[in-house]
């Protein structure tokens, strides 16, 4: 029945094709802009950063801004991209389930011999592909920015930095399916999971700012996010977070299977 999964995922991606451009191009252009301006602000930045309190630098992952990779991490990868992609993930997965329920499409699809678990799996799989495409588009535009500006950005480092966002965002897709097990209203699903996303970010931030509270970071998936653009991808963290996303998706599919789909 992988044919059904592929057909559902293809249809999901086809519906989301505008979203791929709407998210990938602005993020990529923004990232490219950061890379392009780096050579002209390089010296001033280092001085400015040294004036920040050490705790603040630590909290936002701003170390030295001696190279473009460090600048890209501080400006894009420490906050904006993870939060944006996390939100995109939950929107994407919700469009295939609660969005489909609201539009009536779910009733039509469930008139065919397809299980709800397979629908949830297809929505999760398509979201994983959508996230990968948006990140790939962002990396490509960023690399183009580096070529144009001569910023000397390592493509492999940029790829690692953006790739590390993928499992993190996928966790929120998994949580989106869990939320669908409780509500078929897209606003409730996206709102509740977006709340979890921001809460997890704040928990990780507080844990980093206050060493006494560092233990609470284990409640947040951001604890395992790291700084891949400088340190490279941490395979155990990457695989572990991906596995957690899959577990959430499976739990959500189980809940979705058991719930009533009211008219």
């Amino acid at each position: 029945m992988s044919g059904q999964l592929a057909a559902l995922a293809r249809a999901h991606l086809s519906d989301r094709r505008r979203s791929l451009i709407a998210w990938g191009v602005p993020l990529g252009l923004w990232s490219a802009f950061i890379v392009i301006i780096f050579p002209s602000v390089e010296g001033a930045l280092s001085k400015a950063v040294q004036s920040y309190p050490p705790a603040l630098r630590e909290a936002f992952g701003i170390g030295e801004l001696a190279n473009v990779e460090q600048y890209l991490h501080a400006e894009m990868l420490s906050l904006i991209v993870p939060l944006a992609l996390g939100y995109l993930a939950v929107r994407a997965v919700a469009s295939g389930l609660s969005g489909a329920a609201e539009s009536g499409r779910l009733d039509v699809l469930l008139s065919a011999p397809v299980s709800r678990r397979r629908l949830a799996a297809a929505s999760f799989g398509a979201t994983a592909i959508e996230l990968a495409i948006v990140l790939a588009l962002t990396v490509i535009l960023t690399a183009l920015g580096s070529v144009v500006s001569g910023a000397d950005l390592s493509f492999a480092s940029a790829l690692a930095g953006y790739a590390a966002v993928w499992p993190l965002a996928l966790v929120f897709a998994g949580l989106g399916i869990v939320a669908t097990g409780f509500s078929l209203r897209t606003s409730v699903v996206t709102g509740s999971v977006a709340g979890v996303l921001v809460t997890m970010y704040v928990i990780d931030l507080v844990g980093r700012l206050d060493p006494d509270l560092s233990g609470i970071r284990y409640l947040s998936v951001f604890r395992y996010y790291g700084n891949a653009i400088e340190d490279g991808i941490d395979p155990p963290a990457f695989c572990g977070v991906t596995a957690a996303a899959i577990v959430f998706a499976m739990l959500g599919a189980w809940l979705f299977e058991r719930r009533d789909l009211s008219a």
């Binding site: 039509v108 008139s111 065919a112």
Partner: protein
């Protein structure tokens, strides 16, 4: 897909099927059966429980108690196998705004493991449905036509239709009723939910009347109509104009009244005459 059922074989069987949920009224102790080659009408006003019963049969709602078997399979545990053999038109059909009918058909065909679109093109021509425009740009009636095609293109063994003629113009309603009759001839079982008494009378073999979530009567349409024969009312068409008083004076006549044709009858008469003229003109052009 061929029909593997024998006419008269029970396709749907429910036993005290009950769905109670939240503050909304569901259905309670609903028991009925639908046979192969039969059109069963589910009759009741809006909110009576028709849609709840259908959604419970389709496993979109899980029953609180009671059971339903379709093709002899449990409607909850074996729902996927059941849905491989049925076609369903949900009430208030929708599929999103961007996709067109052809895309929806393509996806459903792949989900059903069908190569191509079955008889979808022929049905689209018959219902004058536009399969290439985004569904969001279609009127409600034209969307409903696409929904009908999605429900029937794979020639299912069971058709479940929830308010199927909603939004259709009278001509398309006629075409739809003809299609349902053809499906019955093919051996398909049809469960048709409606509050349009006229269409139920014309196409259904048996009806179940549902009120406040309970099935209060299940009877053959012919028997229901026979019960009204005690009124001894007849409708007579005269070839020429007559005076009402002359009719009342006829032996055995207690009362007589003129009735006007319904708007539907007038519309169909005009339209069919128009089509006849257009076909005649086309034929003359062809001869020229």
């Amino acid at each position: 897909m061929g029909i593997s059922l024998t006419v008269g074989m029970a396709v749907i069987e429910t036993e005290r099927l009950t769905k109670l949920y939240g503050s909304s009224r569901g259905i309670e102790d609903v028991s009925f059966s639908v046979e192969a080659g039969e059109v069963f009408g589910f009759l009741g006003p809006n909110g009576a429980g028709k849609t709840t019963a259908i959604r419970t049969l389709l496993d979109m709602l899980h029953p609180t108690r009671g059971s339903a078997r379709i093709f002899g399979l449990d409607s909850h545990r074996e729902s996927v196998a059941i849905r491989a053999r049925l076609g369903n038109l949900p009430g208030d059909f929708g599929y999103g705004r961007q996709a067109c009918g052809r895309e929806a058909l393509g996806l459903l065909a792949r989900l059903r493991g069908i190569d191509g679109l079955g008889r979808a093109e022929a049905l689209a021509e018959r219902f004058r449905a536009d399969l290439d425009r985004p569904l969001g740009e279609l009127s409600r009636g034209n969307r409903q036509k696409v929904g009908l095609i999605l429900a029937t293109f794979h020639s299912p063994e069971l058709l479940i239709l929830d308010e199927p003629t909603s939004g259709l113009d009278p001509l398309m309603q006629e075409e739809f009723l003809a299609l349902v009759a053809e499906e019955r001839e093919r051996g398909c079982a049809v469960l048709l939910s409606s509050h349009e008494l006229d269409e139920v009378e014309r196409v259904c073999d048996r009806v179940g009347i549902i009120r406040d979530g309970r099935l209060i009567a299940v009877e053959r349409v012919a028997e229901l109509l026979a019960k009204t024969q005690r009124h001894n009312s007849v409708e007579v068409e005269f070839a020429e104009p007559v005076e009402l008083e002359d009719v009342r004076a006829m032996p055995g006549v207690v009362d007589a009244k003129f009735t006007h044709a319904t708007l539907e009858e007038v519309f169909l008469t005009y339209y069919e005459e128009g089509e006849g003229r257009a076909e005649g003109a086309g034929a003359r052009e062809g001869e020229g």
